[in-house]
């Protein structure tokens, strides 16, 4: 019997020539699924359009501040042509003002150029550095002939941000209060307080506004006359962002008393010389009126005024007041006040001294925001590195830009380093009130 053979003819004969007219297996399922999946996608989207449901087409969650608009696209997207429904500045400004950045800026970008929506729930102010560096990397002014007043080439905080202005050459602390940080913060010897030697800490004097903890090293035994707290700083900024200026009443009076005569428990008020003078005169006059037997009593020389010659014995109350007033003025103007204040003494016996304004700087970086509270996990000295060694008032103890850049830099394990972290584009001091454009019903329908 002949064996099987597979000739071309035999193979051709067993082919069904109509095989391609019907699909089997994989090609069949491929076609079915193509129709089904393509159709499902189309039906889903057409249904969404037809039912007015914009959710599938939403480019992403809106910022937290706009979440009230929900799926109401028309709140921001308005018809700008026969087809397009874009977001215009007019829509943004209908709800909130956007004050100009600077009078000299060469152009004003559209709101949406910097504040990009649909990027998720985060602050709209979190703009990209490019929004700032599009101008500040090569800053120009409107007036081409005058150079810009600010650093002209900044491309990012950790790249080309200049040193803070107050730390550049030629800048010093403008304050006039004589203060030696090293003496007050001496780690070895400490400093003498009302109840003995203590070790001061930065936070004993530098506190945010509203902090009302008592000064930890005791209170002044000498009662202050007419004490008032210093002004609250930086209105509109986070209450604990900046340190309140050091003030005499809270931070100095315990040790630096203003007692002018051992007969009185009162200190003079920490006010201008005229008020102090009147206070002393009033006190002495009242005292001698109540104690006429003291007129002829000669006091022991005051150890605080060793060079003072012993005055003659007063003949009457007026002379007594005049002698004691002279001593008190010498003690106050030439010693107690002068210890901290810069004093000037006009010619003429009757003229009171002039005290230079303290000029305590409350914000060292006026073009940037800083929040001490947000940095409270860091010790004061690790940023303010010169604080324990500074001897002069003129020393600026603000940390340099490199200190900030140790944390605020590029990279995964770094703190935010974009411009918006410290700077705001809009000059909010020029903000105008805006009446909202929507009703509650419009937003909730």
């Amino acid at each position: 019997m002949a064996g099987r053979t597979r000739t071309t003819k035999k193979l051709a004969q067993r082919i069904n020539l109509n095989y391609f007219k019907e699909l089997h297996g994989i090609p069949r399922w491929r076609r079915i699924l193509s129709v089904v999946l393509g159709g499902l996608g189309l039906i889903w989207l057409v249904w969404a359009v037809a039912s007015g449901n914009p959710k599938p087409f939403n480019a992403g969650p809106v910022a937290h501040s706009h979440s009230m608009f929900g799926q109401k696209c028309s709140a921001c997207h308005v018809s700008t042509s026969s087809y397009q429904q874009a977001v215009t500045d007019k829509q943004c400004l209908a709800c909130h003002d956007g004050p100009i950045h600077h009078a000299e800026q060469t152009f004003v970008p559209a709101c949406a150029d910097c504040h990009v929506e649909h990027k998720g729930v985060f602050r709209m102010a979190s703009t990209s550095d490019a929004a700032c560096t599009q101008c500040h990397s090569d800053l120009a002014a409107k007036d081409k002939n005058s150079p810009p007043k600010f650093e002209a080439k900044i491309s990012g905080f950790d790249k080309s941000h200049p040193e803070f202005l107050t730390l550049r050459a030629g800048h010093a602390d403008p304050g006039t209060i004589k203060f030696n940080h090293q003496v007050h913060l001496d780690q070895k010897k400490g400093i003498r307080g009302p109840h003995g030697v203590v070790q001061l800490k930065c936070v004993d004097c530098h506190r945010p506004p509203g902090a009302n903890e008592a000064w930890p090293y005791g209170t002044a035994e000498i009662v202050q006359a007419s004490m008032t707290s210093g002004p609250v700083l930086s209105p509109g900024l986070p209450s604990r962002a900046y340190m309140a200026p050091v003030n005499y009443q809270e931070h100095c009076s315990s040790c630096h008393t203003l007692q002018f005569d051992k007969r009185f428990q009162d200190s003079v008020p920490h006010k201008e010389p005229k008020v102090v003078y009147e206070f002393v005169v009033k006190k002495l006059t009242e005292y001698i009126a109540a104690h006429p037997d003291q007129i002829h009593v000669v006091d022991e020389p005051d150890k605080r005024l060793p060079s003072r010659p012993v005055p003659p014995v007063p003949r009457n109350a007026q002379e007594w007041v005049a002698y004691k007033l002279s001593d008190a003025q010498l003690l106050l103007w030439r010693k107690a006040c002068k210890e901290c204040h810069s004093m000037s003494y006009p010619q003429g016996d009757e003229k009171l001294p002039e005290v230079a304004k303290a000029r305590i700087t409350t914000r060292w970086l006026p073009h940037a925001s800083f929040d001490h509270q947000a940095h409270q996990m860091v010790s004061c000295e690790s940023c303010h590195t010169k604080s324990t060694t500074s001897k002069e008032t003129s020393d600026v103890l603000v940390p340099g830009v490199q200190v900030c850049q140790e944390c605020h830099r590029s990279g995964a394990n770094a703190a935010e380093a974009r411009c918006f972290e410290c700077h705001t584009y809009h000059d909010w001091s020029k903000e105008k009130h805006v009446n909202g454009a929507f009703t509650v019903k419009q937003l909730t329908d």
């Binding site: 069904n16 095989y19 699924l33 999946l37 087409f57 990209s128 929004a131």
Partner: protein, 301 residues
């Protein structure tokens, strides 16, 4: 399609376009105040080019439907499909700024990733598996013809056995032998091998019990003859068991079984070669449809 040196120009052009696109994207992404956006001028350009590449890649299926049209060689279309389809992913990522936060865009991007991954897997399979087909399945036939060919093989085997044992359906050779000669009983089938009635009945029995079930349903689980080594053992034992006159028929039956085994192997290889298309093609079509709707709506807002 094999990825050979003929793909080199496509590879070079693809890499060049990718590098150019990446440079453009980096410059634009770093400098754009609001970051990269699909709606910006360059973002839209990336989107248009990306979608055009996707459309071109998708047009391969249409091109195959009209093989006689003079639209360039199918191989050229296939190379373009592979490389431009692959390039469309980074271009669309540049368009999206590497973010997809909306429901539609997120779904489309995930589908896109699946399409590209399935396509790459498919390209690797298409590169490697066809060589396996030529070495392991020399008796390859058209895939869609396999059921038809199998029916013919079964019929051929039946005829071979009928030539020895008489007709397989109806009465047994033993019964028919009582009424006359084997040649007369066989009816239309002429008996070509003259053997004893007892041997004929045994041969028929063995065929009906062992070989025919396999030929009727070669994919049945546990089929003894589906394993080439086991099949060889079975046929060797049959040769020893049966009379020498039927060895020629046994050789032919073994050859038929071997062809069946190869067809089974071909089916497996075919599933590897084309199974990924069940994912790749439908999702590609869904992606193109949703991409078109996305373009229309996104341009509006």
């Amino acid at each position: 399609m094999r990825i050979d040196k003929t793909h080199k120009p496509w590879l070079i052009v693809t890499v060049a376009l990718l590098v150019l696109g990446a440079i453009l994207y980096l410059v634009y992404a770093v400098g754009a105040p609001g970051g990269p956006r699909g709606g910006s001028a360059l973002g839209l350009t990336f989107g248009i080019f990306g979608y055009a590449m996707m459309l071109y890649a998708g047009a391969l299926g249409a091109r195959k439907k009209v093989p006689t049209w003079r639209l360039g060689k199918t191989k050229t279309w296939m190379r373009g499909h592979l490389w431009l389809g692959l390039l469309s992913l980074p271009v669309i990522l540049f368009h999206a700024g590497f973010s997809w936060r909306g429901p539609l865009t997120a779904i489309m991007m995930w589908i896109f990733f699946i399409v590209i991954i399935s396509g790459v897997v498919g390209a690797v399979i298409q590169h490697l598996v066809p060589r396996m087909m030529t070495t392991r399945v020399p008796m390859e036939t058209i895939y869609e013809e396999i059921p038809h060919v199998r029916a013919q093989l079964c019929e051929e085997a039946d005829q071979l056995v009928a030539a020895v044992c008489g007709p397989l359906d109806g009465e047994t050779p033993a019964e028919s032998a009582e009424g006359g000669s084997p040649g007369q009983a066989a009816g239309a089938v002429a008996l070509l091998v003259d053997i004893e009635q007892e041997d004929r009945a045994r041969f028929r029995e063995i065929y009906m019990a062992k070989v025919r079930p396999f030929l009727k349903d070669p994919e049945a689980p546990g089929a003894e003859l589906a394993n080439p080594r086991r099949a060889a053992e079975v046929f060797d034992s049959l040769r020893r068991l049966l009379v020498p006159q039927v060895r020629g028929v046994l050789d032919d039956l073994e050859n038929i079984c071997e062809e069946e085994q190869q067809l089974s192997h071909q089916i497996k290889i075919y599933r590897w070669l084309h199974g990924w298309l069940v994912v790749h093609v439908p999702l590609s079509i869904a992606l193109l449809v949703m991409g078109a709707v996305h373009a229309v709506i996104a341009l509006r807002y």
